[in-house]
Symmetry: C2
Subunit: 358 residues, 2 copies
DNA sequence: CTGTTAGCGCTTTCAC
DNA sequence: GTGAAAGCGCTAACAG
């Protein structure tokens, strides 16, 4: 089987359409560009039918080369295996399609080198804008690009020293709500289990909301437990440690609960609790950031803070498009609200019966 | 903040580099194309340093326009929310990066119109090849494109009348293995629960392997249960139906088990069983296609057939690149093997104790 | 070994 | 209203 290269002999070009229709390339171009009132009814119809007959499809590469309008948007994702990223991607892709843009996706796998390469690749395709969601320890290349090349919108986490727009969760508020729910359910000793806080604003925001809520209740104790989820056994060890410490402090009067900082952490916690043969809510309360497909399934159901991931992705693209279209307003942050989904894991009283699933 | 358009004044071009280095554009182009032995050591060094100094990055749009080598690969995904698709995407993206290609992702959301639009979009960017994983009821546009424009590799499912390469699971073999495992575990009445078979070769393959294994055991009964997972309550109703029918047939001697046709179905089954207050393996055996993050977590763990999703995505890209590089061998199918992961849900005897998790 | 020249398919002045 | 001509940034003959 032989393919006629997509650019080459096989493809019908604007010149062919012009010749067939007996008009100039300029008129075709005007037609494509939507300058309809600049064409006579006569030409308009001629062009329309010729395009349809030949199945003509303008080359975006050529259009982009001339005008800079590539209708391409790049998205850099820290970890495509993270359900949060995929959920946001879902909304972003939908928005792109709705606005006639196409998404170029790069997964950095939390690797700085790949992040840099991907950035360069996206730049070389002249993407009109970039959705960015990676660690970003070394953000110099990004800052440079953003200043000179194209608009950038940050997802989920801020980057220090960058004045890019950001779309994400209202972390402080969501964490406060989560913590207050646990306190209201009667828990006295709560551990916020998160991946390393350093440099990640969203995690820091969740911690802030958590501590804020705790500080309103002098009788309650809250602490932050940092875990490395890619380090086998680390989560279990840290949990064990936390439990022992609190029991030592308050004895059996301590009502222990965990607030999981995100979906990846929740999974590790669920696995760890299972390996420790601890059940929730009987032995320990549990509330997790990120609603996952399996949240209702484990134990008596895991309570969660659901993020509006689709909207986050969708409005991130719309923010980007606004900048692409020339908006020059000062930096904006769009913080969306989370939603508490109560299940058995955070309701010690009622949940003893088992499968209540509101 | 004002952005100098990515194509435009801000960008460093080959002409500037040529001028600065005091050589011709051709020499720069040769350098970029890796024709190093065509350059003198003198020029090579001049060019290298100038490129570095100016931070020059060739425009892929321009390169693509001229030579047809866009280094772009399109991927059409039926449903980005399906964990299988994402897992394959993961491998595909990695392979692209390794080979210097960039992925253009389109999610069709199982919508034929969007599928057609996305196909057109990818074509308009002159992707060099396409990874395709959608329903494909109406495949006329795809077949047309594939014949005239660029190579296509199919993921997971065949498309009738298309001679495209395919990469996926050896479904017959995997289903046979799965079924034999259930039979060996003592189950006598097995329901293969799948989404509608019609037109989806991978589902049909799984059914074939299932029936094959069943036919080897005259004492056992197997039947196919088609479900619509987007129809609330349908899965539960179909399961209920199946159970009643088999109990009616064989009474308490019937050892019932379910073989779930894919990850999306498993989730619905797990939810349905939960709503019916049925546990596994106590009340019913369960084995699911697709290993998911939460498979170890539910009940005493769900046994699964794990697909080598990363490899599937990775080798699909490599297959595509072979075609792009001109390979004209007849159509090839690459069928990878699944792996059985035994957990509690398919082991009625041992599993009564609870959390054995090999 | 190196440079000159002519486009790739499209948009965009600038005339008519 | 319409079209001719000049590029966008790059590659690929073709000369020297």
């Amino acid at each position: 089987m032989q393919y006629t290269r997509s650019v080459g002999a096989g493809r019908v070009t604007i010149a062919q359409v012009a010749r067939e229709a007996g008009v100039s390339k300029t008129s075709i171009s005007r037609y494509l560009g939507g300058e309809l009132d600049a064409l006579s009814e006569h030409l308009r119809e001629r062009i329309r039918s010729t395009i349809a007959r030949l199945g003509y499809q303008p080359s975006q590469m050529a259009r982009g080369l001339k005008g800079g309008r590539t209708r391409l948007i790049g998205m850099l994702v820290a970890d495509i295996l993270n359900p949060y990223s995929v959920a946001v991607l879902h909304g972003a892709e939908a928005a792109c399609q709705e606005h006639g843009y196409t998404l170029m996706l790069c997964n950095t796998g939390n690797d700085e080198k790949r992040e840099k390469q991907s950035l360069a690749a996206l730049h070389s395709y002249s993407v009109e804008g970039l959705l960015f969601n990676t660690q970003g320890r070394n953000v110099a290349p990004l800052k440079e690009l953003g200043r000179t090349a194209f608009p950038v919108v940050l997802l989920d986490r801020r980057i220090e020293g960058c004045d890019f727009d950001l779309v994400g969760l209202d972390n402080v508020r969501a964490a406060r709500m989560a913590t207050e729910h646990l306190l209201a359910s009667g828990y006295t000793d709560i551990g916020l289990v998160v991946q390393p806080l350093h440099g990640v604003s969203s995690r820091q925001g969740r911690q802030a909301g958590f501590l804020e809520a705790i500080s309103g209740r002098p009788d309650a104790h809250g602490e932050t437990v940092e875990v490395h989820i890619d380090q086998p056994g680390h989560v279990a060890a840290m949990l064990q440690d936390f439990f022992k410490r609190r029991r030592g402090q308050r004895g059996d009067a301590a009502k222990l609960a965990i607030l999981a900082g995100n979906g990846m952490v929740s999974l590790q916690i669920a696995l760890a609790l299972r390996s420790m043969k601890l059940r929730f809510p009987e032995d320990i309360g549990l509330l997790c950031f990120d609603e996952l497909s399996w949240s209702p399934l484990v134990g008596s159901g895991i309570s969660t803070i659901e993020q509006p991931t689709y909207e986050i992705g969708f409005s991130a693209i719309e923010r980007l498009l606004a900048r692409i279209h020339g908006e020059s307003a000062p930096r904006r942050e769009i913080l969306l609200d989370g939603r508490l989904i109560q299940r058995g894991s955070s309701q010690p009283a009622q949940a003893s019966a088992g499968s209540k699933d509101p």
